[in-house]
Amino acid sequence: MSSATMIARDTRSTSESTTLLDFRDVAMTFPDGTVALSGVDLTVKRGEFVTVVGPSGCGKSTLLRIASGLEKSSHGTVDLATDRIGYVFQDATLLPWRSVQANVELLAELHGTPKAARAAKAKEAIDLVGLTGFEKHLPKALSGGMKMRTSLARSLTLDPEIFLFDEPFGALDEITRERLNDELLRLFAEKQFAGLFITHSVSEAVYLSTKVIVMSGRPGKIVGSFDVPFDLPRDPEIRFTPEFAALVGEVSHALREAHS
């Protein structure tokens, strides 16, 4: 794009190039013999938002589970340079008996943060995701999008250096999803975490990311990597530009090739 953008991106990569997550030749074979991942090399640096797209069942989620330590890879090395990890699940995983406030406080509570401190932390996170006024609501009174916002706020209380997203908006309708994408980009710009995002929506991937990675079906392998050149913060209208459409086309093409 413009030269100004290029400069902005350059400063970002020189001053904040700490690698937070580093996969080297990672493979995953489950005890039943299923090969979920093979030969995966992937790095996520501070200030990077990397999205992995691939067909269902290609091991995208396994990638996140390994990154977070929920699962151990059967081959290769995984380095995670921080213990402040945000993890957003496919569903909001809220505790139905807790109010929005209490749900958002949960992680700090598990870490033994004193009540006043975690309440303040939660309040801040709730403000950030735009749920102010809904602190006392129970999850059953929230829409799908608001549940996801609560889930996001809960992770934000950890001040994560790296944020792992496992298809978090897959179950939401298109409009809610686009809105949450906008908010996520705003949070990313504000908080400067590193992001690793899993999705099967190519346009969501291109819109959110600084880099899109395409995975093939089983066993999951990285078959393509696309740098996304658009400026941050992004104008939602960018989705309707020919450049955006062209990149979505390219990624889709790579995805289709990998799938066949």
Binding site: S68, G69, L70, I85, Y87, F89, Q90, D91, T93, L95, P96, W97, L106, L107, E109, L110, H111, G130, F134, L138, P139, K140, A141, L142, S143, G145, M146, T176, R179
Partner: protein, 279 residues
């Protein structure tokens, strides 16, 4: 964002209102109608029996001889009180043992494999066959009556609690594991709260069974202060049909009441976030 939120809540509110207000008649009318039909049939059969109607005295006689006669009424109330004590002590013990048993099984697959068959056996063995043995071991008084209650009421507590503990979503468990939460933390902050609706549903079933256990115990263990079961036995042997029916109705109402109380307790405990007792 805000629009779609208020939209959802207002729909929810409207739905609750319509079930609370308009549906009351629809809820109560059918069972009352059934009761009227039953009483009518009762009168019919009773009058057809003629002289032998001590087998089924008409309803007004049951009320007069059973509930309005001060002596009989006080006998029934005293006996029911004793049975209630047995049932409640038995139920309390069954709840504690059942929940602890289920928690133990939820902690490791091998514990579940080792212990669950015995929970099933407890449910399948004819407890009546064991009752003489219970008397033989523990005597024929209060304690044995409580043991029978516990044995009858235990299984629903074990199975319901275990089901509840195991219905925790994998992702929620992982949410806790990602924060390196201890087993104890996961149990108290995730598993038990998740299981609470199932535990209360189990209590409701067990409460009814504990009443059955108390009455069964009375039939076998006659020493000390037996309850309503012994009274039923006496009325039967004296062919006092009206008093017998009155005692049976009182025992049944007590069973219904204890079921309702635990339903209410469940609603108070989890009704805020769970549709308890709606199904």
């Amino acid at each position: 964002m805000t629009d779609d939120v208020t939209g959802t809540t207002s729909i929810a509110v409207r739905r609750t209102r319509s079930t609370n207000g308009g549906a009351k008649f629809g809820v109560w009318a059918p069972p009352i109608l059934v009761a009227i039909v039953v009483i009518a049939v009762w009168y019919l059969i009773s009058s057809m029996l003629g002289k032998k109607n001590f087998l089924l005295p008409p309803p007004h006689e049951v009320v007069a001889k059973g509930f309005l006669n001060p002596e009989t009424a006080s006998d029934i109330v005293t006996a029911l009180g004793r049975s209630a004590l047995v049932a409640l002590v038995g139920l309390a013990i069954a709840i504690v043992i059942g929940v602890v048993w289920a928690i133990a099984m939820s902690q490791a697959k091998w514990i579940e494999r080792s212990l669950f068959p015995y929970a099933v056996i407890l449910q399948t063995i004819p407890i009546l066959a064991l009752v003489p043995l219970i008397g033989f071991w523990f005597g024929f008084e209060f304690f044995s009556r409580v043991v029978v209650c516990v044995m009858i009421a235990l299984f629903p507590m074990v199975s319901n609690t275990l089901f509840g503990l195991q219905s925790v979503a994998l992702s929620q468990r992982e949410l806790f594991k990602l924060q390196h939460a201890s087993r104890w933390t996961i149990l108290t902050k995730l598993d038990l709260p998740t299981a609470l609706p199932a535990i209360f549903a189990g209590m409701r079933i067990s409460a009814g069974l504990a009443v059955v256990g108390a009455i069964v115990g009375d039939f076998f263990f006659r020493r000390g202060t037996p309850g309503i079961g012994a009274l039923l036995n006496n009325y039967t042997s004296r062919l006092q049909g009206a008093e017998l029916l009155a005692a049976i109705i009182a025992a049944s109402l007590f069973g219904v009441a204890i079921f309702a109380v635990f339903g209410l307790l469940g609603k108070l405990a989890v009704g805020r976030w769970y549709d308890f007792g709606q199904k």
